[in-house]
């Protein structure tokens, strides 16, 4: 117990406190100016916008994938089920490297997509692609147990009352999946906001165009502009705390739904 608390405070709380303390040293007006420079605003816009797009893509494909993996039998099902965790296991730098290479003009996918006008590498679209890859397991893994525990009887009842399969899905299955889906969505979103490793490779990091907020922090640090870096970090931190709170509430809601 004592050891736990000691280790916890040494590794987590003291660094946290340090950051907050430093942030408090700058005056509020100065902090506001540093956190809302034009370059920073562009970076927030890209970070949040791309994260939102990626989370939506994950919600759609994740639901589909979870449904297919639980409900259907087909060759390769077990293999895909195991592979869903691959983005968790793969270091983000490797993910960014290989995705950037795939979507580059000479890459395996890029050579077909770039002539069609779909530029994956060094564009905001690339950021969305990388974030979708990184956040993919969240929705699938939160939905799978819920779909497994669905009562078939309810669907049978709906069907016997004359509902079409689509109608059953919309009014019986979808509402039950909602809390878990939202949790997975929020987890993927939160992860995408803080993501750094995979983006550095694929985005090209052009200020005002493809520069994400975490990259801007690194840039500020390299210019020895500590106050600027800390201001941006605090904004990101506050946002992740708000999301964390939402996720906790959602999980409570979801577990109430289960009973």
């Amino acid at each position: 117990m004592g050891f736990t608390l000691f280790y916890l405070s040494a590794i987590v709380l003291i660094p946290f406190g340090g950051l907050i303390l430093r942030a408090c040293e700058t005056s509020l007006g100065e902090f506001w100016r540093l956190a809302t420079t034009e370059r920073a605003l562009a970076a927030y816009k890209l970070t949040f916008g791309a994260s939102l797009c990626a989370a939506v893509a994950n919600a759609i494909f994740g639901t589909l994938l979870a449904w297919v993996l639980v409900r259907y039998e087909f060759p390769g099902r077990r293999f895909i089920d195991a592979m869903v965790d691959f983005p968790f296991a793969l270091p983000t730098a490797v993910a960014g490297l290989t995705l950037a290479n795939l979507f580059a003009p000479q890459g395996w996918l890029g050579q077909f997509l770039v002539p069609l006008g779909i530029k994956g590498a060094y564009t905001p679209l690339g950021v969305v692609i990388a974030l979708t890859f990184v956040g993919m397991p969240f929705v699938v893994r939160t939905l799978q147990p819920v779909i497994e525990s669905l009562e078939r009887d309810v669907e049978e009842a709906a069907a016997s009352l004359g509902a079409s399969r689509f109608r059953t899905f919309l009014s019986v299955i979808a509402p039950t999946l909602m809390p878990a889906l939202l949790t997975g969505f929020a987890l993927a979103f939160a992860r995408a906001i803080g993501e750094y490793g995979s983006i550095v490779f694929i985005s090209g990091n052009l200020p005002f165009k493809t520069e994400i907020a975490p990259y801007l922090i690194v840039m500020r640090l390299e210019e020895y502009d500590y106050a600027g870096a800390i201001a941006l970090a605090v904004v990101l931190l506050m946002f992740s705390f708000v999301l964390l709170g939402c996720i906790n509430l959602l999980e409570q809601w979801a577990s109430r739904f289960q009973r």
Binding site: M1, F3, T4, L8, I11, V12, I14, P15, F16, G18, L19, R22, F61, L64, L65, W67, V68, R71, Y72, I80, M83, D85, F86, P87, A89, L90, P91, T92, A93, V94, L97, T98, N101, W108, T132, F133, R152, E155, E156, A159, S160, R165, T168, G194, Y196, G197, F201, P214, I217, V218, L221, Y224, Y226, I230, A233, L236, S240, F241, L243, L244
Partner: protein
């Protein structure tokens, strides 16, 4: 439970007649979309890593790995993992033990704090250590006067990695320990075992697989961490470059095949991690089914 397995299949068989299954066309369209998505987003990136790594031949691949700077990066990554993982295992077991076996105030706060590193951007995590130990940081001048280097040196990399990988073991163990409860430990204690004996003979065997699981996840992240390490490392070639940082540097030097060669090792590590994880899950499911079947036969 063995009974439910057969019941499930018969249910599925009947279900198709009761209209609780999609038509075959819808079903195969859904499966095809899922397969296509997985092929583009999971398989292709993986195959691409190895394809690019070997694109200039086997000799080039080997030469890029034994290049002194890459070799130094591999050694540093292993060193960081060797220090980080045992530290976090020790903490994970202690924290999970405290949370699962004792009642105290602020328990949920403790769990939230343990999860904190997951919700913080790795870059912000790295920044915290720079603020603390960097030259302009709180302890910077003091450390500088004593000629101790933490930021832009190996200790900083270790600290940042410990921070980022710190929830894995505890997170895996807390539910396992909560599920087993405290009766067995209490029984061991009343039979005269001391705390250490109880832990070694009673607690450890029951959390064995959860622990292995936590360790491999922690290890995978420790070796692959990029954001936090990149902020504190200083990118000194041959000294403070870990494997992921080496990948970035080679890529920026337009030496993509070499970058992919180093990346392929990390991808192998990821595959190995996944393999062990899948095996453990399969084994747990099998053990569970066996135990349930025994209960069933005993009842009959």
């Amino acid at each position: 439970m063995a009974g439910t397995v057969t019941k499930k299949t018969s249910l599925r068989h009947r279900a198709s007649q009761r209209g609780t299954e999609e038509s075959a066309v819808v079903k195969w369209v859904l499966i095809s979309i899922a397969m296509a998505f997985c092929a583009v987003f999971l398989l292709l990136p993986l195959i691409n890593v190895f394809g690019q790594a070997f694109s200039k031949g086997l000799t080039y691949y080997r030469d890029s790995l034994v290049h002194p700077d890459s070799w130094a990066a591999i050694r540093l990554t292993l060193l960081v993992a060797v220090i980080t993982v045992p530290l976090n295992v020790l903490f994970g077991v202690a924290a999970a033990w405290a949370i699962a076996k004792f009642e105290f105030r602020g328990k949920s706060l403790l769990i939230t704090i343990i999860d904190l590193p997951f919700s913080v951007s790795p870059v912000v995590a790295g920044l915290m250590f720079v603020v603390l130990f960097g030259l302009q940081g709180f302890l910077g001048p003091w450390l500088d006067a004593r000629d101790i280097k933490i930021i832009y040196a190996v200790p900083g990399i270790v600290l940042a990695t410990v921070f980022v990988t710190f929830p894995f073991v505890a997170r895996e163990l807390i539910p396992v320990m909560q599920a087993t409860g405290t009766e067995q430990e209490q029984a061991a204690m009343t039979l005269g075992a001391n705390g250490w004996q109880t832990f070694w003979h009673v607690t450890l065997p029951s959390i064995k697989w959860g622990l292995v699981y936590g360790i491999i996840l922690c290890n995978a992240r420790a070796m692959g961490e990029f954001g936090a390490v990149s902020v504190v490392s200083g990118h000194i070639t041959g000294l403070t470059d870990t494997m992921p940082l080496r990948v970035e540097k080679l890529y920026n030097e337009y030496n993509a095949p070499a970058a992919f060669a180093v990346a392929s090792l990390l991808a192998l590590l990821a595959l190995l991690t996944l393999g062990i994880k899948t095996y453990l899950e399969w084994k747990q499911a099998r053990d569970y089914e066996r135990a349930q079947a025994e209960v069933e036969t005993a009842r009959l």
